[in-house]
Amino acid sequence: MIYFDKVTKTYLDNLKALDEVTLSIEPKEMVTIVGHSGAGKSTLIKMLLAEDEPTTGSVYFESVDIHSLKRSLLTQYRRRIGIIFQDFRLLPHKTAYENVAFAMEAAGRSDEEIESDVPYALELVDLREKIWNFPSELSGGERQRVAIARAIVNQPDVLVADEPTGNLDPMNTYDVVQILKKIHDLGTTVILTTHNKGVVDSIDKRVVTMEKGKIIKDVKHGKLTL
């Protein structure tokens, strides 16, 4: 489904954020990418979202090189990917409901679909009571749950979570991990980056370990042994 083919990303200072990374992810798989800060996890996610271009190599989604897509097709592609960020990245002047609805509006969904699916998505992340709150009126855990609702509301093929628990306390971390596992159980491919050992251990799925821009370990069912 997703294939990184010898992807290298070199920045202006000749620092290699990714060094000939080759990685294959199958449909409905849950992959946890681990590594210290600067290992290349976030750069890998940026490549997958086509937020940044590889210096060499290609990233394929269903055999299509995503970096060769035209702008309109890239937009279509991104609608098939749900994204969750460490810093939530909610739209600050929109309520929880409007943030989730935005992803559906952007995908061209009808008003009827939005009115039925947004409350449902927010209910899935246990935020039904706060749908009219603005991000500034929510706690970190609640914001991340809104971000998860936004990411899943279009029923994406792949859910990408870049350090989703990085800014959360243990209780909220546990909640978020349980939600991600639930989403995976429902048949969505989930790619998660983290450096939290507890998160990796509790997921107990495929673990890809990165260091200095390279993949140094790839185990099917793993515990974190950095």
């Binding site: 979202l49 937020e51 702008r71 309109s72 937009t75 279509q76 991104r78 609608r79 990917i81 994204i83 990245r89 909610l90 739209l91 600050p92 002047h93 929109k94 409007e98 935005f102 992803a103 509006e105 952007a106 995908a107 061209g108 009808s110 008003d111 936004r150 990411a151 279009n154």
Partner: protein, 307 residues
């Protein structure tokens, strides 16, 4: 398409309302810009009116000899009116000239007595000639000096043309008018460009604070148009609000200035001018506001849409 438009409009309106601090700052700067543009229009009108009034006071008088026949004078008048430089001519008969002279000297009994002792009217007819532009009097004067119409049987029918004696004053005035127009246009262009740049930078700064927001919009699958749309709506709303405020400010301002401009600029009532030309002002200020807001937003957002 309609649904997208509706969503973009709603998102832009809500963002304008909710992001009130940035919106107020944009509206304030744009109000200043539109006020400057409006003030420039008033200044141009004042300048043009003043220059037109000064130009109207300049003319060339052709003094005919007393023996010149009326049909010859009228032939000269017709010939002058055929010149592209001539705006208007006025024929003053020798009787009228005589009457005007008497009226002008009604308190000068000595002059009137001398006039009465003459058996004939010693004053010839006059042709007042006004050019379209002050700078065109020279070519009219040249025509008068060389035209065959001005001689009958080799006897000149013109006594004198007062262009040469007024030439220095007319040339100086023409130069002042031309310079004033050029300087006015230059200052206007500078002020308009400065105002537009200030507005553009304010909106760019406002959108810079939302650059992460634009990135997120793109990453969750929003098209460029869908991401850009709400910011353009916000820009247009800032432009509309600023235009309404600027137009509202001009009402009391011109009312207050009217007595001064009427006295100082020979009857130019700025308030009446504003009220009489309000539709044009409305379109110009509103149009400028909308154009400034939308174009600045499009240019400012473009940079962040490359994700």
């Amino acid at each position: 398409m309609m649904t997208s438009m509706k969503r973009i409009l709603r998102a832009g309106f809500l963002a304008f309302w909710r992001n009130s601090v940035v919106s107020v700052a944009s509206v304030f700067v744009m109000t200043v810009t539109l006020s400057v543009i409006g003030s420039i229009i008033f200044t141009q009108v004042t300048l043009q009116t003043t220059l037109a009034q000064i130009s109207d006071k300049v003319d060339v008088n052709v003094y005919f000899v007393t023996t010149a026949r009326e049909e010859d004078i009228l032939a000269v008048k017709t010939a002058l009116e055929g010149l592209p430089e001539v705006a208007a001519t006025e024929y003053v008969t020798k009787d009228k000239v005589y009457q005007d002279f008497r009226t002008r000297h009604e308190n000068d009994s000595l002059t009137l007595q001398a006039l009465d002792e003459l058996e004939e009217n010693p004053l010839g007819a006059i042709l007042n000639v006004r050019a379209k532009e002050t700078s065109q009097y020279a070519s009219i004067a040249q025509f008068l000096e060389t035209s065959d119409l001005l001689k009958k049987n080799e006897t000149p029918i013109i006594d004198k043309v007062n262009y040469q004696q007024n030439r220095a004053a007319i040339d100086k005035l023409a130069a002042i008018i031309a310079s004033s127009e050029k300087i006015g246009l230059f200052v206007t262009a500078i002020l308009v460009v400065m105002s537009i740049l200030i507005t553009f930078n304010t909106i760019r700064l406002a959108i810079f604070t939302s650059k992460d927001e634009i990135t997120v919009m793109r990453l969750v699958g929003a098209s460029s148009a869908f991401s850009r749309g709400p910011f353009i709506v916000q820009g247009i709303m800032a432009g509309l609000s600023s235009a309404v405020i600027a137009l509202a400010i001009f009402y009391p301002l011109t009312y207050w200035l009217a007595p001064f401009t009427t006295d100082f600029f020979s009857g130019l009532n700025l308030f009446s001018y504003y009220v009489d030309n309000f539709p044009q002002f409305f379109l110009m200020i509103m149009g400028s506001g909308i154009a400034l807001g939308s174009i600045s937003s499009v240019l400012a957002v473009r940079k962040y849409l490359k994700v």
